[in-house]
């Protein structure tokens, strides 16, 4: 591997370019016509414009990106997250063009991308799955039988869905009867695959995920992340490790994640997501993401391992650079996603020119961003401006550092979620570390002194 094309934009493109440059690789950026002046383009040795502003016609254009790689003389492609990162067809085209895809095989992407197959694979690896149908359900009669064993409410999920998309929760047999054909129809049009399956709805659950790594022969984990603080199923804050997770559960959960990686002969960085039910101390497999995640820096902060560098060296054919025994978790890390959205208007996106941008710094504060003062926040892509990541020897220290860091954020020209994140950092439920996947939205409707319903002004 000598020349790497980074098939992404924004902070993750910058993150990957940094790792590539540290390895001495030549780098190629891609951009849409709207991003020609962006930071990630300037950081790369060269760049190719792959299409007009809308992502569907540029960053999501598989053939244009592969053509750019060939044209620029790249021998490897890193997809980042989002965009083409979990499209088996894209990975296949990269490999088919004789280039290295920085990620698992197209087969592994396909296997884990199909939620029914992923669930069956997890079960085969001895990983507990949420009680539900063992495969797709075709008819209302089948669905009712499954619901008889899971109870209500039950979730109908699209096999090709994921990340919170293609899910319908029903509370009764009547609702199930009505919703099943509709969800099948929606799944066909949204994902091109009408298959759906049923899962028990675990309430008051936590979203805990395990970072795994494989080189095709050896498989390790790098601990867990707590990602339950979500708004509209989008993560807002992530932590490493998960506060209050019993050590015995942590051991079983990380072991299960490694077993799944081994079952599929996994190559590269992956994340195994679990729903954790604190009352029953049970965890269940949700899905495996076959890419680097937005929140990977919290794992890097507590383990001291550069996950993106490891992606590149493993993709180049090197074995994993460390065995499991050498992975040690030290202290606690938090990541806050600073978005260009206005918390005072229901989080409406706020594109514009960054007339002023001052991001925090200082000891044990890491900021990953693809934005800069004077730059544009285009209306075409996601609203992530920067990730503010802090480390502390304890969670309490990390929280104090997070408050200090968030206080340093100064942005003019676009609205941001900084005031919202700052208030969240003081919320008693967050400070106590006792929350689940619906907590944040509950806190946001709470207009008492402790709640987050008050406007920031």
């Amino acid at each position: 591997m000598q020349t790497l094309l980074v098939a992404n934009r924004g902070e993750i493109a910058v993150r990957v370019l940094r790792a590539a440059r540290e390895l001495g690789l030549r780098t190629v950026a891609v951009c849409s016509e709207a991003d020609v002046g962006a930071l990630h383009v300037r950081m790369a040795d060269t760049h190719r414009v792959v299409g007009p502003a809308p992502a569907t016609r540029s960053y999501l254009d598989e053939d244009a990106v592969v053509a750019a790689a060939l044209d620029a003389g790249a021998d490897a492609v890193h997809p980042g997250y989002g965009f083409l990162s979990e499209r088996a067809s894209f990975a296949g085209k990269v490999v088919g063009a004789g280039l290295t895809f920085v990620g698992p095989s197209p087969e592994a992407i396909r296997l884990m991308g199909d939620k029914v197959l992923a669930r069956q694979t997890a079960a085969r690896a001895g990983v507990p799955t949420v009680p539900g149908s063992d495969g797709p359900v075709a008819t209302v009669e089948e669905a009712l039988e499954v619901a008889g064993s899971t109870g209500f409410p039950v979730a109908i999920k699209a096999a090709a869905g994921g990340g919170g998309r293609g899910i319908r929760v029903v509370a009764s047999a009547e609702e199930l009867r009505e919703a099943l054909p509709r969800v099948q129809g929606e799944a066909r049009s949204a994902f091109g695959n009408p298959e759906v399956y049923l899962e028990r709805l675990v309430q008051r659950a936590r979203h805990v995920e395990v970072q795994v790594f494989g080189d095709g022969e050896r498989f390790v984990h790098l601990g867990e992340r707590e990602c339950s603080l979500q708004r509209r199923r989008q993560k807002v804050v992530e932590e490493a490790g998960a506060p209050g997770l019993p050590e015995a559960v942590r051991e079983r959960m990380t072991g299960a994640a490694v077993a799944l990686a081994a079952e599929v002969g996994y190559h590269g960085a992956g994340t195994v997501e679990f729903l954790y039910d604190p009352e029953r101390a049970e965890f269940h497999f949700i899905e495996m993401n076959t890419r680097i995640q937005v929140e990977h820096p919290v794992t890097e902060m507590v383990t001291g391992r550069d996950l993106v560098r490891e992606q590149l060296t493993v993709a180049a054919g090197d074995p994993l650079s460390f065995p499991q025994e050498e992975v040690r978790v030290q202290g606690h890390a938090l990541e806050f996603r600073l978005n260009a959205e206005d918390p005072d208007t229901g989080f409406l996106p706020s594109p514009g020119t960054l007339a002023r941008l001052h991001l925090p710094g200082g000891p044990f504060v890491r900021v990953d961003s693809g934005s800069e003062q004077g730059g544009e926040v285009p209306p075409f892509y996601d609203s992530l401006l920067a990730k503010v990541v802090v480390w502390g020897d304890t969670r309490e220290t990390a929280l104090a550092r997070a408050r200090r860091a968030l206080d340093e954020v100064e942005v003019e020209g676009v609205a941001t979620t900084a005031p919202f994140l700052r208030r969240l950092a003081d919320h008693p439920g967050f400070v106590a570390g006792s929350y689940h996947t619906t907590s944040l939205e509950e806190w946001m409707t709470d207009s008492s002194e402790a709640g987050l319903a008050r406007r920031s002004a």
Binding site: P52, A53, S189, G192, P349, P351, F380, S383
Partner: protein, 81 residues
Amino acid sequence: MPEHTVRSPLPGVFYRRPAPDQPPFAEEGAAVTADQTIGLVEIMKQYAEVKAGADGSLTAFVAEDQSVLGAGDAVATVDVG
């Protein structure tokens, strides 16, 4: 007949179809109602529906599918009646 211009509520990318493999929300020449969705505008991965805004006949789309619009840009025209 008076003509009504449908305008984009937000800046962003205009889509005439709910998904790439689905038929358009509305065809030119079709009868529409005021609260009928005739397209979507995507801004930073959030989607806003574009409503016809008047009962009548959708005479023409001014904005092309997947084109970039500013807030208030014309999307389509409706012959009211």
